[in-house]
Symmetry: C2
Subunit: 331 residues, 2 copies
């Protein structure tokens, strides 16, 4: 049988940073994030520059919390949802850190964590930082309509998280070890509704989770938390049903970051949250802090990405999706 699981022997998570916007600061995880910015422009004059400024600040928070200068970082990688990933490129230009641009849609933060782990585990670099951002306002006008239109959203629509998460990995031991990873395969189940990305991505999440458990000696019950990235309510339900049919009942330990960051009912968030920043900030801000507090020890993260663009949706193409997995544990 083909081996899907990559095993790392010497990769550790050193630090995380998270910065979010106003809506996220009104949700149940508000107290966990490192910083909040209520101005959607982040002091700039366009939403695109705002996203870059947000990403720049988040990287600075990561460096500050880690006690590192840019020149101490061997490798930086990341991406975002803007065309050609400009939020990230513009954010990191002045750091002069060797940079790899990634595009995995909302799976980018875990895609980056896997690539960073590969470089560190192989001894090519001592450390690597990973970042991913999204911004509700820049995403809306790029993927859907300008905010000024006041478009109505469907019940299955998800709200793009305004935020950025950044993580630092290294070869020097910390209590938080990156043990394993599964690189996602692109899955296309024929869903064409760009307002129901949860349904498109659920199959990809399930594919990756099954590949992991079918090959691992661990069972779902061995984990304290199994978190998908941004399936939302709709996608989460679908994934539970699909996993059940394949013999896996994950129960309460199985959560979706897209259902955690907002109070979906009170904040009227339809199916929940999405965006590169969804898992990036929920793990970086919330889950990792729960690990630091010994509330969680063994965590499986499955970040999901919908690989469409505006034109492919208009051309009536279905939505190819992907999900990357890492297993982090406190030792």
């Amino acid at each position: 049988m083909k081996n899907s699981i990559l095993h790392f022997s010497s990769v550790y998570l050193a630090q995380t940073a998270s910065l979010v916007g106003k809506k996220e600061s009104e949700g149940p995880l508000a107290s966990y994030f490192d910083a909040i910015e209520e101005d959607p422009y982040f002091g700039t004059d366009t939403f695109e520059k705002a996203e870059s400024e947000m990403a720049r600040r988040t990287l600075n928070i990561l460096l500050g919390k880690s006690g590192k200068r840019p020149e101490d970082i061997d490798l930086l990688m990341g991406g975002d949802l803007l065309n050609q990933c400009i939020a990230t490129s513009f954010a990191v230009t002045k750091t002069h850190i060797p940079f790899l641009g990634l595009y995995g849609a909302c799976s980018t933060i875990i895609e980056g964590s896997i690539v960073a782990s590969a470089f560190i585990n192989g001894g090519l670099v001592k450390n690597a930082a990973v970042m991913a951002s999204s911004h509700f306002c820049s995403a809306e006008r790029q993927y859907r309509f300008p905010l000024e239109y006041g478009s109505q959203r469907t019940p299955t629509a998800q709200h793009t998280v305004t935020g950025c998460g950044a993580y630092l990995f290294q070869n020097e031991p910390t209590p938080f070890r990156v043990k394993e990873a599964v690189i996602g395969k692109i899955v296309d189940n024929g869903v064409k509704d760009a307002n129901n990305m949860g349904a498109a991505m659920a199959t990809a999440a399930v594919d990756t989770i099954l590949r992991y458990f079918n090959e691992s000696s661990l069972k779902p019950q061995d984990f304290d938390l199994i978190a998908t990235g941004d399936l939302g309510k709709e996608g989460h339900e679908i994934s539970i049903e699909l996993l059940k049919r394949c013999g896996y009942t994950l129960g309460d330990i199985y959560v979706d970051c897209g259902m955690l960051i907002y109070d979906i009912e009170k904040q009227d968030m339809h199916a929940g949250a999405s965006g590169c920043a969804c898992m990036a900030t929920v793990f970086g801000g919330h889950i990792f802090k729960r690990m630091q507090n010994n509330e969680l020890k063994r965590v499986l993260l499955i970040a999901t990405g919908a690989l469409l663009n505006k034109k492919s949706a208009l051309q009536n193409e279905s939505i190819p999706s992907i999900a990357h997995l890492i297993h982090i544990c406190k030792e």
Copy 2:
């Protein structure tokens, strides 16, 4: 001193594939490419689907030339210039190969070659395929204007290559060893003219080349060929001048793939070629075959990427650029 050079001990280039369009089939390298398609739609009904079809066919050519089935490939990665890299995502969906999406603009093929080498060198996978595509028609209407407008081009403008290149790397020895790499840093020299990307990218190319030679025991004269990706005439001249000021006169061995693929004068190509496919097809189709024919042994490739998007150009932002380097030699 900080070490910029990554050293690989067990990474080999096994095979390459290249597919190009009509204009490229009329240029001086025509006979080197594996396949040519004269129909810009590649049998589909949109330029975006055409680019995907082109990428899909190229991957198939790579598999065919390598004697591999999709399930023999441990890891696939790549990207393109379309928003959210849809050409690549749609092209590879049906392969079911674990996939990493990259965005490095026109540097993507070498960015991917470095990431593939990291996974192989560290023993995480046995082999990995890398691909990058671009299409003149999809790029024009996305970045500039629909072709129907018949827009005039400036003298410094470059023509996006219609083509796709795909490479297979592995841990099993072949005569073609990937010895070293330098991951680029983003450089922004203030150039804002999206019709002069060569000038924007030249500084990034020079930064990477200098980082390599300042730390390497090798001199430019030790190489049979030093090729940049797609600086074009303008950027090539600028890079020669900048390198000279820093004490490096590279002479005739220093070429730019953007000046090789077309007969710039006869085909009226202004400053030459650009696009992800430029270096991807010129190395994959032309340079690699010259290595196979023993015409070249030691080659340095520096792929350049301009990390702008249409909106950043309209918002009057400058063009951050990057250049990734690999050293391949025949042993």
